[in-house]
Chain length 328, copies 2
């Protein structure tokens, strides 16, 4: 009493089995499944019926992949997941990537530690630079001619580069603070990374002397610890510029913990424009188009897979004035 009927031997049915049972050729059967060329309705129905009766679930992806030279899998290098996605800004971007790729029939494979991914069937790879500059897989992918798209990272040869206007955004925030009368400004930076450089440049366009408090990841605890030490020195600053909203939220809470009013005693600026629902005040921040960035990334990936030339992209950002900054 087998589920699928008439399976001649003890192995999974193949398209050839279906073809025989349907009484048509292998190529016609293939066309009936792929729709790549017209097949008469009668034939298609016969093929589908045969497939159903054999319990055939459609073309074997492994065989199809080899034949077509494509796996439908796109890798995304993010480092450790718990690090990469700790910052809520990472999600909307990857979400958008996934959505666009899904619609095109591609899947997104997380490359955590990127060694040993050499044997995986990847049609393209996205490097989403989260505080890292080097990836061991890069050379290998170059050798294999796998298209690469780099987000906010160094412009490695042969890669397509998706970025936002870090410098312009940072400068807009700095000007906003300058307009409010701030002159003594300090900044919390990201760990050495590519975005870092443009943002610091933007800040220094307005405040050449801005003091660097220290560098840390976009992580509440790390930012809080750094700022706590800094504020303990009773510094002579009226504003602190952060490189993410998570950092900024931590700074606001820590400032309050030390009896400072925000923005009365201290103005705090963020970056990203993500929600910080646990904070009862809207941050002044540089809003970046996270979903657009993800879509641009995915579209670049698809174009590169299709063999097209793709230009680098730089997306605009926008200052959003909230309640965490005010006059000196």
């Amino acid at each position: 009493m087998p589920g699928p009927v008439e399976n001649p031997v003890d192995r999974a049915p193949t398209m050839a089995d279906v073809a025989v049972l349907a009484g048509v050729s292998l190529s016609t059967t293939s066309l009936a499944f792929s729709g790549n060329k017209p097949v008469s309705d009668a034939t298609r129905e016969r093929v589908l019926a045969a497939a159903a009766s054999l319990g055939y679930a459609g073309p074997n992806p492994l065989a199809s992949n080899l034949r077509r030279g494509r796996s439908g899998v796109v890798g995304i290098a993010v480092g450790r997941l718990s690090t990469a996605f700790r910052d809520p800004a990472a999600l909307p971007m990857v979400d958008a990537v996934s959505e666009v790729l899904d619609a095109a029939g591609f899947g997104l494979l997380l490359m955590g530690d990127d060694a040993a991914h050499a044997r995986l069937p990847l049609d393209a790879v996205i490097y989403d630079i989260c505080g890292r500059e080097t990836w061991t897989s890069y050379d290998d992918l170059v050798a294999r001619d796998v298209p690469m798209v780099v987000v906010e990272g160094p412009a490695w040869p042969g890669t397509t580069f998706i970025d936002i206007d870090h410098r312009g955004g940072a400068r807009a925030l700095a000007r906003h603070l300058h307009d409010l009368g701030h002159r003594r400004v300090a900044t919390l930076t990201l760990e050495p990374s590519h975005p870092q450089r443009g943002r610091e440049a933007g800040l220094r366009d307005v405040f050449p002397q801005a003091e660097v408090i220290g560098a840390c990841a976009s992580d509440h605890d790390a930012a809080q610890a750094l700022v706590s030490d800094y504020l303990a020195t009773e510094p002579d600053v009226t504003a602190i510029v952060c490189q993410s909203d998570v950092q900024a939220a931590a700074v606001v809470l820590e400032a309050r913990r030390r009896g400072l009013d925000v923005p009365g005693d201290l103005s705090v600026g963020g970056f990203d424009g993500v929600a910080t629902p646990w904070l009862d005040l809207e941050l002044t921040t540089v809003v970046q188009p996270l979903a657009d960035k993800g879509r641009a990334t995915a579209e670049a990936v698809l174009a590169r897979i299709a063999g097209e030339r793709v230009d680098d992209v730089e997306l605009p950002v926008a200052l959003r004035v909230g309640a965490s900054t005010g006059p000196v």
Copy 2:
């Protein structure tokens, strides 16, 4: 002036090209790369040298996959990323999955919307049930004989089931509250989902009459809105039990916003045991072994791929008493 030398024709070099140049057979060349059988050092070096001079980057994964009947790709169905990973409890688990799979040479593919993944080369699929009960891909995967591992979801036929002791954990927290003298307890539940049921049962083991405030995702805003409305009715409760720490943190902040002291006026219990760094108080919560859950999941996946029989797993949880609960 080509980079790779001696490429006879205009196409990527194959293992056969390497074999010819090295003066050995195709099968020996394959062994030199895979190490599946011993090859003399001299031969291996000759092969590797030939590969290097041709710019051959190793066996084509697509061909290797077909021949071996494996892709090295494991899917994980999480729904929308921004939803699935909004709760920090999701990360350590997926992180552990990824780590174990990586070490075994497998990659993790995110199945967002799970339609249309039928053509992807998946060796196994993990269903991490984040507030969903149905997945359209299930039937298809059954038909393809793809091993499935379900985390905290329904025990579908043919799947391996990884779970934690929801009921025991919820009961332990309830007893703790009962010991503190609480008698009037309300609960915030998850959207209808599998874990939900065991946890509510555990709560009712101790407080059969516990009132349900409402159901929402493990999301700060949602929980806050729900509890805000509830507290506005001036309910006669002394403790609120939540189904996640994110919910619990939101409840604490909202209670304070309304002038209630936690735990003086209201005790709040959580679930998961994740960090809530923006909260200045440690939550009383049911700690679940997130990394263990991930590892158990990945190990079940690997065993199923290897064709082994695998038993279902239920992991223990532990009550951690923090500062968000106290005597009535």
